[in-house]
């Protein structure tokens, strides 16, 4: 039985070779001999041949006569696209290069000043003062938070009012975005 199935598979391979015009004469004889014994394969071969001929005869269909003009009208204008892309790239390049050139020029101009002892001293003093200011701001903020915490402890309704206020802001934000969203056609 297994040998019989193998034989069928081999015959199918030969059928495909025959359709592609690659079947050798000896194999053709073997195939025909098999068809005389096996009516199923013979019938299938007839059908495959008929479909093969049908597909070979099927015409190449053409689109409507004005297809070329309609398609040309849809083509994007690549020339303008190339010009636009070049302009954008040029602009981006300039945007990147100009600040770089300005920074380099500025450094070259003020570079010698960095070596002056008075400048370095001034820089150190300025840094120290900036640190002091930041410290003061943080302390004040911390104290303010503490005071606000105490106030919340005494008047908890303030928290409720704050939440209502945030809710109102979100609500009107949503209404505004709905009103200004572009409408789909």
């Amino acid at each position: 039985m297994e040998q019989r199935i193998m034989e069928h598979d081999e015959i199918y391979t030969l059928m495909m070779e025959a359709l592609d015009g690659e079947l050798e004469e000896s194999d053709q004889g073997q195939m025909m001999a098999h068809f005389q014994e096996c009516s199923t394969c013979a019938r299938e071969w007839e059908t495959i041949q008929a479909i093969h001929q049908l597909l070979l005869q099927a015409p190449v269909l053409s689109p409507a006569a004005d297809f070329t003009q309609r398609t040309l009208a849809l083509l994007p204008n690549t020339r303008y696209r190339i010009y636009a892309i070049s302009a954008i790239y040029g602009f981006l390049l300039l945007v990147g290069l100009i600040p770089l050139a300005v920074i380099i020029w500025f450094i070259l101009q003020i570079g010698p000043a960095f070596n002056q002892p008075a400048f370095i001293r001034g820089l150190q003093q300025g840094g120290g003062q900036l640190l002091e200011v930041m410290q003061t701001v943080v302390q004040a903020g911390w104290q303010g938070l503490g005071t606000f915490g105490e106030l919340l402890g005494q008047q908890p309704s303030i928290l409720g009012w704050l939440l209502v206020l945030v809710g109102v802001v979100f609500l009107w934000g949503g209404v505004y975005s709905q009103l200004t969203r572009p409408q789909r056609v």
Binding site: Y12, T13, M15, M16, A18, L19, G21, Q28, R43, E44, E46, T47, I48, Q49, A50, I51, H52, Q53, L54, L55, L56, Q57, A58, P59, V60, L61, S62, P63, A64, A65, F67, T68, R70, T71, L72, L74, L75, P76, N77, T78, R79, I82
Partner: protein, 199 residues
């Protein structure tokens, strides 16, 4: 394609690359039938086929810089078309659109073989039969069958278009032909086309 035709095509391609729409129009004129036919055989619907053909030409136009002249322009163009059609078929399947029968033929369809009214009726029936058979095949089998029968492509060329191996193409064609025969036998509709014995 003749050598002169090939040279002409190269000139059109060069001009089209520089943004010349008229030159690209000549290429559309030359390839509209093969591109439309491939789309129609794949999708089975004339309106969709026309849209697919237009989309294929637009894609070819915008990607002309990536075309490698070492390969045939027709192979490249048909590759764009068939890939687009396979995507469309996938989308169609994803949308679970089921069609009960073949879609009506588009009035704009023109067959070169059609002559008198009787011949047109016979051609119409044959056309419907061919299209129904093709639609029973999975997309990749259908693609291989169309490229083999309508475009007379070699296994190598089909493999190039479908971006796969020659053995995979042989296997797909083998299975596709068997499936077509089995479908015909199951439905007991053997095509009326004259059978020429292949020897």
């Amino acid at each position: 394609m003749t050598y002169q035709g090939f040279e002409e095509e190269q000139i059109w391609l060069e001009q089209a690359r520089r943004g010349n729409k008229e030159a690209f129009g000549m290429l559309i004129e030359a390839y509209q039938a093969p591109v439309f036919n491939l789309a129609y055989r794949m999708l089975g619907n004339a309106d969709e086929a026309e849209q697919a053909a237009q989309e294929a030409f637009i894609r070819a136009w915008t990607r002309l810089d990536s075309y490698d002249p070492a390969h045939k322009f027709s192979t490249w163009l048909l590759s764009i078309t068939s890939n687009y059609c396979v995507d469309q078929l996938r989308k169609r399947r994803a949308q679970l659109l089921s069609l009960d029968g073949p879609l009506p033929a588009h009035p704009a369809l023109m067959s070169e073989s059609a002559s008198g009214p009787e011949a047109q009726v016979a051609d119409g029936e044959q056309e419907e039969y061919v299209q129904n058979l093709l639609e029973t095949l999975p997309a990749d089998y259908r693609q291989a069958v169309i490229l083999r029968y309508w475009y007379d492509m070699s296994y190598d060329e089909i493999a190039e278009v479908m971006d796969t191996t020659v053995s995979a193409i042989k296997s797909r064609l083998f299975r596709a032909r068997r499936q077509l025969a089995e479908t015909s036998m199951e439905l007991e509709i053997v095509p009326a086309a004259p059978v020429e014995t292949i020897s």
